[in-house]
């Protein structure tokens, strides 16, 4: 304090109050921002860490219990002891083990008190087997059989034989699946088309007409050809199946039993306790690859989510394509053409209010208006045969088109408001300059106002996409399904199938997380899917922001 007089003093007037200097406000505002950042970063980091950890191979522990039981599994959770407090009883330290022996124990995971454990070990040959059906299996490789012949016995020999034979067996499984899905699928479509042609001929020309007879004859020819080709396919698939038949691996489980798994029913197997770091990485990468590129298995709790990724991306892009022209045109009329007055104000207020309507209401509207109204009308006009033949609506039910339209409606206010802002930010001097050159109103809008407002319009679209991609409630009503393996965009003519139902990542989160029979096993999947959804939305946004930056450089930057 004594040095204060020697230093140059800060001159602070006696009247300068705290609020005039405003330091507390700097602290409060900065604190709020910091809190927000911590929450956002924390949430994202949590999702990323948990989501990325799902596929990392965790060691298997063999636990010997005091009552003589043995459990082999991954420790997924550990809880410290809880002391008795009031009414609540004390609880010893315990751990949750994912046991992977459902056939014997009837449970996927169990809590084990630490006190009941006699000893734990990490046996070298403890193996995790991902099966096509029946979930995971934890055990020790015992024998590899080919029919009655014993190919190998003892873990090292069995595993060596397994790694030799397994890839070929899997290749045959994939080939069978491809034949069923692609070749058989196209035959079935052909057959259905010919049957529908008969029904359509009956509707158009009357039952028993010459045209219907001709169509029926053609349908019979098609049916005969399809039957012949199907027989051929059957031969091919049964040949493949025969090659796989007989091959089986026996595993000894921790409870002492033996479980036999057909070789082609094993998706992959690994010994987490003897994996090298490189092996761990390879396994991790291969599980991610399956997750990103394959169809789901076992009620969506295993396998991949490719159809859901595809559905999410296609639907979001389609929504953006639908909402952009509508929103921009509406905003153009409101800002550039409509005269200012109470009506315009009322319309503007109404649009802002639309943004606050709960999204499920849009879903109900979409179901009632698009699916049951428009869709049923389209079906009656163009797909009557299908409706009559097998009572199947084409457009009269939920589908990609209706879902995109519903979300477009939902995000329309965002786009209109953002576009209006962008239009009003275009300097009037530019419009006047254009008029002074003899341009008409539309020429001015098209050549001057719109290009200049494009970056702002893009901002609106980005907001709309972020909102639309994360929306679940309305989608459940207008076309998202738990399982829909026929992609809305694929290689069969006409390549885009806007009437098809589709899968969506956000809905998958709900489905896997809350509708799954094995919730403990599904939980890591939920994190991974969430991580993926956030990453996809971020990616779409980054792309849109990149486009916006380019537009801004081109049309807006003004330097002196």
């Amino acid at each position: 304090m004594s040095s204060e007089s020697s230093r140059p003093r800060r001159h602070r007037s006696a009247h300068a109050t705290l609020s005039a200097h405003g330091e507390p406000w700097v602290w409060i505002t900065a604190g709020s921002l910091a809190l927000t950042i911590v929450m956002i970063v924390g949430l994202l980091a949590f999702i990323a860490v948990r989501g990325a950890a799902t596929f990392w191979p965790v060691p298997l522990e063999l636990v010997q219990l005091a009552d003589g039981r043995r459990v082999l599994g991954e420790v997924t959770q550990q809880e410290p002891a809880v002391a008795a407090r009031g009414e609540a009883a004390a609880r010893p330290a315990r751990r949750l083990m994912r046991s992977g022996d459902f056939a014997a124990t009837g449970t996927h995971s169990e809590w084990i008190d630490d006190a009941a454990i006699v000893g734990t070990s990490r046996p070298e040959w403890a193996t995790v087997v991902e099966r096509m059906e029946g979930g995971r299996l934890h055990g020790f490789p015992k024998r590899l059989l080919h029919g009655a012949e014993l190919v190998a016995e003892g873990p090292p020999a069995v595993w060596e034989a397994f790694t030799r034979e397994h890839p070929a067996a899997r290749r045959r499984v994939h080939e069978i699946r491809r034949i069923d899905k692609v070749e058989r699928g196209s035959l079935q479509r052909e057959l259905r088309a010919s049957r529908l042609a008969v029904v359509r001929a009956g509707l158009d020309f009357g039952a028993g007409s010459a045209q219907q007879a001709a169509a029926a004859e053609a349908a019979e020819r098609v049916a005969a050809r399809v039957a012949a080709e199907e027989r051929e396919l059957d031969e091919r698939t049964s040949a493949l199946r025969d090659q796989n038949a007989g091959w089986a691996v026996e595993f000894e489980t921790a409870s002492g039993g033996t479980t036999t798994v057909p070789l082609d029913g094993v998706v992959r197997g690994w010994q987490p306790n003897r994996l090298s770091p490189a092996g761990r990485l390879r396994l991790y990468a291969s599980r991610w690859a399956e997750f990103l590129a394959d169809d789901p298995r076992e009620a969506n709790s295993a396998g991949g989510v490719f159809p859901a990724i595809w559905g999410t991306v296609v639907m979001t892009l389609m929504m953006a394509l639908l909402v952009a022209p509508f929103g921009v045109l509406a905003a153009l009329y409101l800002r550039e053409y409509a005269s200012r007055g109470p009506v315009t104000t009322a319309v503007r207020v109404a649009i802002n209010n639309l943004a606050g309507v709960p999204s499920i209401v849009y879903g109900a509207f979409g179901l009632g208006f698009f699916c049951y109204g428009l869709g049923a009308g389209i079906d009656e006009l163009f797909f009557e045969a299908s409706l009559v033949a097998d009572g199947q609506p084409t457009f009269g039910t939920g589908g990609l088109l209706w879902a995109s339209l519903t979300l477009a409606l939902l995000t329309l206010p965002v786009v209109i408001v953002a576009t209006e802002e962008a239009l009003s930010a275009v300097p009037n001097s530019m419009r006047e300059g254009s008029y002074a050159c003899g341009a008409g109103k539309w020429q001015t809008i098209r050549r001057i106002v719109l290009p200049r407002a494009l970056p702002g319009i893009m901002t609106g679209l980005i907001l709309a996409m972020a909102r639309g991609a994360g929306e679940v409630a309305p989608l459940m009503l207008v076309g998202v399904k738990k399982l829909a393996l026929d992609l809305p965009v694929d290689g069969t003519f006409p390549f885009v199938h806007p009437e098809r139902e589709f899968m969506h990542l956000a809905y998958l989160i709900y489905d896997v997380g809350f509708q799954s029979p094995d919730s403990q096993a599904a939980r890591p999947m939920v994190f991974t899917i969430t991580f993926l959804l956030v990453a996809i939305i971020a990616l779409l946004n980054v792309a849109a922001i990149g486009i916006r930056a380019r537009l801004r450089r081109r049309y807006v930057v003004q330097q002196f």
Partner: protein
């Protein structure tokens, strides 16, 4: 309110001057109509544009009072006067930009080479194509330099590359900008400096071979060097184009124009050859304004 303020200012200004020159201005401020002092020399020139008893109201407020003035062909005519005297309004009435303002009402007429501008049958888009206009703040369009210059041809649907190239070069040369931008015609016009942007706007205005060129304080947003270049350019345009320029800068008016009109509170006060207005005006009011004693 505006009128009252101006009245007060006129009174104090008049009171402070050594030779009170403000009889006519006081009359105007009091709302009386006065006759404009138009020199004989102006009337002998062939006119390109005739303003004929032109009145204009913004809502209830009258902004222009019975303006009658011929604008001589191929000469530079400057409009001077204190802020709010209606110079810009008059200029924007010539190409009917005021049509965009909802509450505007006019009486009287203007004639461009004999064609009535406010004739209901006159197509306002055709009319604007016969004029070029440059604004206070440079307003290049968000497109390339080339496309800025040929904008008025583009909106007419001109696609012939040869024609466009020729017009672009001629206009940029006419605006003394060609040498500075000829190597980057496809670059964004927004990357030019303020002075270059304003000359680009002039190039854009003369690209359509306008019958009259309207400049609304073209140098007010520019630094002295850029201002000098634009003034030199106006000197070069003299004799080839009929130019009507609004300016606040007395030196600029005296340097660049052939004729000068002094306006006050929406009235034309005096109008004559620039040397006469600046050295021997008929009215003392004009003298006191151009010498900076009030305004």
């Amino acid at each position: 309110m505006q009128v009252a303020d101006d009245t007060k200012r006129a009174e104090t200004a008049g009171g402070a001057a050594d030779a009170p020159p403000t009889d006519r201005l006081l009359a105007v401020a009091a709302g009386r109509e006065v006759d404009a002092e138009v020199h004989e020399a102006v009337l002998q020139e062939p006119p390109v544009l005739e303003v004929d008893r032109f009145n204009l109201w913004y809502g209830a407020k009258q902004a222009l009072h019975r303006i009658t003035m011929p604008i001589p062909l191929n000469k530079v005519t400057a409009l001077v006067g204190p802020s709010g005297c209606g110079k810009s309004t008059l200029l924007r009435s010539v190409n009917r930009l005021n049509d965009l303002v909802q509450s505007v009402r006019i009486t009287g007429d203007m004639r461009l080479n004999g064609d009535s501008i406010y004739d209901p049958r006159m197509d306002v888009i055709d009319l604007r194509k016969r004029m070029g206009m440059v604004f206070q703040k440079p307003n290049p369009f968000p497109m390339s330099i080339y496309e800025n210059v040929v904008y008025s041809l583009r909106i007419d649907g001109e696609r012939n590359r040869g024609v466009l190239d020729e017009v672009c070069e001629a206009s940029l040369r006419g605006a003394a900008l060609w040498d500075e931008v000829k190597d980057r015609l496809q670059d964004s016009a927004l990357g030019l400096s303020g002075g270059q942007q304003q000359r680009l706007c002039i190039a854009r205005a003369i690209a359509a071979e306008p019958e009259v060129l309207l400049l609304d304080e073209p140098c007010s947003a520019l630094d002295p060097i850029a201002t000098g270049k634009v003034e030199d350019l106006i000197q070069e345009l003299r004799g080839r184009y009929s130019v009507l320029i609004v300016t606040h800068n007395m030196q600029q008016a005296s340097r660049t124009s052939d004729y000068t009109a002094f306006m006050y509170l929406g009235r034309l006060i005096e109008y004559g050859p620039t040397p006469d207005i600046f050295t021997k005006p008929v009215l003392r009011e004009t003298e006191s304004y151009v010498t900076g004693r009030f305004g």
